[in-house]
């Protein structure tokens, strides 16, 4: 009995801590202008949709959503393609320097963005890739590769080698084995890596801010961070845009919770 009460209390506390602040912001997006500034605050909104309309029509929210979809989608596809090649080699050829490469990737993923920001900006400027989709996407692929390769390597290692051996004996090249045997078998792992890379790219702000100064190309995080308004903040619109930027991710997370947890802790702690 005591255990039951204890668990009920703490699990409710954890649920409230994780959910309530964001729920408050979602409710705010459904309030009328008067309800937003009301003291005492009104908890249940009157489900006013004016701020959503305004965010869509006056602030061009859909354009930001479109840009984010293009950037995060392309980053995910390319990272999976390039990363799967590398991960296959790292999982199957155990050479002295493949271990070093995994460590290098780990170290690279820990670099603070500012340590490379200036030169990355200059490279993109030199290539005339500032304010282009491919400029951001190239930077994002680099940022996602370490995580993608680590996750996929872990998953590839778990596959039985016998099937691949049989295919090699039958005269398949390594690339054919990867394409026809390994990738279909490792589909769950690829999917896990893809979800994590997508969420990562969808949320990234620092490089998007540097590379995309043209408002027609900016992604959602940049749009939400730079919401215009000096003295009176358009809180209703900000809350509406934030809700629309976040709900897809919340659904992804709730749906694929197990995969995400596995992917994030892949290889990290298991010993």
């Amino acid at each position: 009995m005591r255990r039951k009460v204890f668990l009920l209390f703490w699990s409710s506390a954890i649920g409230c801590f994780s959910l309530l602040p964001f729920l408050w912001f979602v409710l705010t997006s459904l309030k009328t202008p008067n309800e937003i500034t009301a003291i005492p605050p009104k908890i249940i909104p009157s489900f006013y949709l004016g701020f959503y309309r305004s965010a869509l029509e006056n602030y061009g929210l859909l354009r930001y959503v479109g840009n984010s979809l293009i950037v995060a989608g392309a980053t995910t596809l390319f990272t999976i393609a390039i990363g799967a090649l590398a991960a296959y080699a790292l999982a199957r050829f155990r050479l002295s320097w493949t271990r070093f490469y995994l460590m290098l990737l780990l170290a690279v993923s820990m670099f603070p963005q500012i340590a490379i920001a200036g030169p990355v900006w200059r490279i993109l400027n030199y290539l005339n890739w500032l304010n282009t989709y491919h400029g951001v996407i190239a930077a994002y692929i680099t940022l996602s590769l370490p995580m993608g390769i680590w996750i996929m390597t872990t998953f590839f290692k778990e596959l039985p080698y016998e099937v691949e051996e049989a295919a090699l004996v039958d005269g398949c090249t390594r690339l054919q084995v990867l394409w026809k045997v390994v990738l279909p078998l490792a589909a769950p792992g690829l999917f896990t890596a893809a979800i994590l890379i997508f969420i990562h790219a969808w949320n990234e702000f620092f490089f998007a801010l540097l590379i995309l100064t043209n408002p027609t190309l900016q992604t959602l995080p940049v749009g939400i961070a730079l919401f215009p308004g000096e003295y009176t903040m358009p809180w209703g619109e900000i809350a509406a845009a934030s809700t629309m930027a976040t709900l897809p991710l919340v659904f992804l997370t709730l749906l694929f919770q197990r995969r995400i947890v596995r992917g994030l802790s892949a290889g990290a702690v298991k010993g």
Binding site: A89, L95, F111, P112, I114, G118, L145, F205, A225
Partner: protein, 296 residues
């Protein structure tokens, strides 16, 4: 070169090119640029070699020193609290009870929210006229309402709260994975010997969980060192530089003011700071991590 070496090289090459062009070269270039005077807004001055001048400027720049202590303070406060909260959450969610599955998913929500969104959210909660923070403290006596984000003493705390809320989930995940790896029969044996719940925690859970706790702490430390989004949205480094963390200061110098040379010195310092920490991390747990990948 043997066949498998050549093959592995071909498979790794595309990924290596990206890493080379967009991280390894830029790191070296940041070092190089830190010895030059280079101002984006005054391109006609060109790129002039100035030796250690930028480094000397950094040492006498009070804003930079303040920025360093602000950053270290931020890391020192948030990471242990995140590990502690994450540990508490993991201990509760490792028990079996009805609704545990959905609750584990809900805990991940702060992790999934874009940092920019959670920053706007906390900025709204800390609003000086109609934020929930003020309402909880002072009810409807609006005369007493505080403006936490405009107060040099409160602003750093507000930012820490937002950071802890957003990233505790991650610490929780790592610690939960660690808890799940502890074999159940250890607890059963302890129960037979009549151990109390505290003794079980003290002598079984804690020692076996140490690597996971360390891992969570170090991942969080490295991430907290590069805090940027929160500061950009909530305070812009203000008020009076109270939240001007290193990554934001470097951004401001390099991109708002265009001082690429001086900004590069800040980059180099931040780089060494996190390199030092990642080395500690890789030394203490890195090889173990690799073994678990290789063992599979």
């Amino acid at each position: 070169m043997s066949h498998s070496h050549r093959l592995a090289l071909q498979f790794l090459l595309p990924s290596f090119l990206f890493v080379l062009i967009f991280t390894l070269f830029p790191i070296v270039e940041s070092f190089h640029l830190s010895f030059y005077r280079l101002i984006l807004t005054l391109p006609w001055l060109g790129q002039k070699f100035v030796g250690w001048e930028n480094y000397r400027d950094l040492l006498t720049d009070p804003v930079a020193l303040h920025s360093l202590t602000t950053t270290l303070m931020f890391v020192a406060v948030t990471t242990p609290l995140e590990a502690l909260l994450g540990l508490g959450m993991a201990l509760v969610l490792n028990e079996s009870f009805q609704g545990r599955g959905p609750l584990r998913a809900i805990v991940l929500i702060p992790w999934a929210i874009p940092t920019v969104v959670s920053s706007q959210m906390w900025r709204f909660i800390f609003n000086d006229r109609y934020g929930l923070f003020n309402f909880f403290l002072f009810g409807d006596s609006t005369g007493l309402y505080l403006a936490p984000l405009a107060d040099p003493r409160l602003a750093p705390i507000a930012i820490m709260v937002a950071e802890i809320w957003k990233t505790t989930s991650f610490a929780f995940l790592i610690i939960l994975a660690g808890l799940q790896a502890i074999p159940n029969d250890l607890y059963e044996a302890a129960s037979i010997d009549g151990a109390t719940a505290w003794q079980k925690f003290r002598y079984i859970t804690f020692p076996l969980l140490k690597p996971a706790l360390l891992l969570a702490l170090l991942f969080r430390t490295i991430d907290a060192l590069r805090v940027f989004d929160l500061v950009f949205v909530m305070t812009q480094g203000g008020p009076a530089d109270a939240t001007n963390v290193l990554q934001f200061y470097g951004y401001k110098k390099s991109f708002a003011e265009g001082m690429i040379g001086y900004g590069s010195v800040i980059s180099v310092v931040v780089f060494f700071l996190s390199l030092l920490l990642s080395l500690i991390y890789i030394r203490s747990i890195g090889s173990r991590m690799l073994e678990t990948v290789e063992a599979r």
